[in-house]
């Protein structure tokens, strides 16, 4: 019960902070880079389009109904700039997902990219693919997409564990540019040895993608709110540690 009240309190504070920082962020211009990975995507789209190749975007096995739903949503937001730009070049990325609900969301995003350009009919079926419902089978099947098709870059962003190493390995063997991000420690540990520092997003860095890709004040307000909540949690941890050190509380 107490835990639920703390969670409710945190959600309320988060909502208020989001509203307040949202107003403040509207007046600001955002040009700063937090995670270089997301700033690299536009150049990568241009390079790949010039070479006449494609980009493979692997979104992982997180769905919209599970624990990893917000990680998948954040990954999609981080890729929104990429999908819009590549549809503008008419070289849409091949997007693979390991969850049916995420498949629908990703397809919606790519279709919207075309619709915003006024050419919704240009969307080609098979641009977004559902490949397999379990994480390991998904990674193996998505790795075949990286291996088989004429790719210029592979972007693995979303809900992954150690199975991401199969995908990353396929990209390294094929010698295509590799970018990646994972929220789980296992996924991050599998990516860390392969990727350069500016090609990787680890843990909460994944949630800054929307802000970096779109520059919208709502996303920047979200990042500011995350910082506020982080300081509150730190203060709570310190307070509990001090209280237990002094023998106060249960």
């Amino acid at each position: 019960m107490a835990n639920q009240m703390i969670a409710l309190g945190l959600a309320l504070i988060g909502a208020v902070a989001l509203a307040v920082t949202g107003i403040y962020q509207r007046r600001k211009t955002h040009g700063e880079t937090i995670v270089p990975l997301f700033k690299a995507f536009p150049n990568e789209v241009g390079r790949v389009a010039e070479e006449g190749r494609a980009i493979h975007v692997a979104l992982g096995s997180g769905g919209i109904l599970g624990e990893q739903s917000m990680v998948s949503v954040a990954a999609l937001q981080g890729l929104s700039g990429l999908t819009e730009l590549s549809t503008a070049y008419d070289t849409p990325p091949t997007v693979t997902t390991g969850d049916p609900t995420l498949y629908l969301l990703a397809e919606n995003q790519v279709r919207d990219g075309y619709a915003r350009l006024g050419s919704a009919e240009s969307y080609r079926f098979g641009t977004v693919r559902f490949v397999a419902p379990s994480p390991i089978a998904y990674a193996a099947m998505a790795a075949t997409v990286t291996s088989d098709e004429s790719l210029g870059a592979s972007i693995n962003l979303g809900s992954f564990d150690q199975e991401i190493s199969l995908l990353a390995h396929a990209a390294v063997v094929k010698n295509v540019a590799l970018y990646g991000g994972a929220a789980s420690p296992q996924g991050a540990a599998a990516l860390y040895p392969i990727l350069r520092g500016d090609h990787i997003a680890i843990g909460e860095e994944l949630f800054s993608g929307g802000a970096e890709a779109t520059g919208r004040s709502g996303f920047w307000a979200g990042l500011a709110t995350q910082d506020i909540l982080r300081w509150l949690v730190i203060a709570g941890i310190v307070a509990v540690a001090v209280a237990s050190l002094l023998g106060l509380g249960g």
């Binding site: 009240m5 989001l18 079926f125 075949t144 040895p193 350069r196 709502g218 982080r230």
Partner: protein, 204 residues
């Protein structure tokens, strides 16, 4: 209006009800939350049907396409997918055919793939020294090797055990920090959707 307003309204109302149902001790809200989650599961089942159709269509396209290099793989996939679908449809998910497919094909296949990740992870570790020649990389490798070594059941010198305890404390702390950051990101992303700032369902 119907393109974004209605989905956003539904997302806000449903999101709020599910959040409050989980956090407030009100039985009506809790039962409403359970109904909504059940409804979402049914929608997810429909999404699965669409996703299955996508698999069939993509691989059928590869099968009839002249340029496709992997026609044989697509043919095997199509035959297995349709055969499994028909068998499970006839016998149900608890039937003999479904259990045999899961126990004799899927689980062994996935175990083999999981074993393969051990190899790709070792290869990734070797590549580390090529991609990042830094102190942190050396530390990463030393810790990984220490962890691997100490998983072998044997008696270790006291200094190594103390070192490992230190490494475990540091790694557990770092992991919790990482997960806490992800949890905060999750909360804020959820709040953005509930407040209507963010509309992933309607492309906004």
């Amino acid at each position: 209006m119907f393109r974004w307003f209605l989905p956003t309204l539904v997302a806000i109302v449903v999101g709020l009800l599910v959040l409050l149902g989980a956090l407030l001790p009100i039985p009506t809200l809790a039962s409403l939350r359970a109904d909504l989650v059940r409804g979402a599961a049914i929608i997810a089942a429909f999404a699965m049907v669409l996703a299955f159709a996508n698999v069939l269509r993509v691989h059928f396209g590869r099968l009839v396409s002249r340029q496709a290099k992997q026609r044989f793989a697509s043919l095997i996939l199509l035959v297995s997918a349709i055969a499994t679908f028909v068998l499970v449809l006839l016998q149900g998910p608890g039937g003999v055919a479904a259990r045999t497919i899961v126990g004799s094909v899927l689980i062994p296949g996935q175990s083999a793939l999981l074993a393969l990740t051990a190899v790709t992870l070792v290869l990734a570790g070797v590549r580390l020294l090529r991609t990042r020649r830094r102190l942190s990389s050396a530390l990463f490798l030393i810790v990984a090797l220490l962890m691997l070594w100490t998983t072998v059941p044997m008696v270790y010198p006291g200094i190594l055990e103390t070192g490992m305890r230190f490494v475990e404390a540091v790694s557990t702390g770092s992991m919790r920090g990482l997960l806490l950051g992800v949890a905060l990101g999750t909360v804020v992303t959820g709040l953005r959707i509930i407040l209507g700032i963010d509309r992933p369902h309607s492309g906004g």
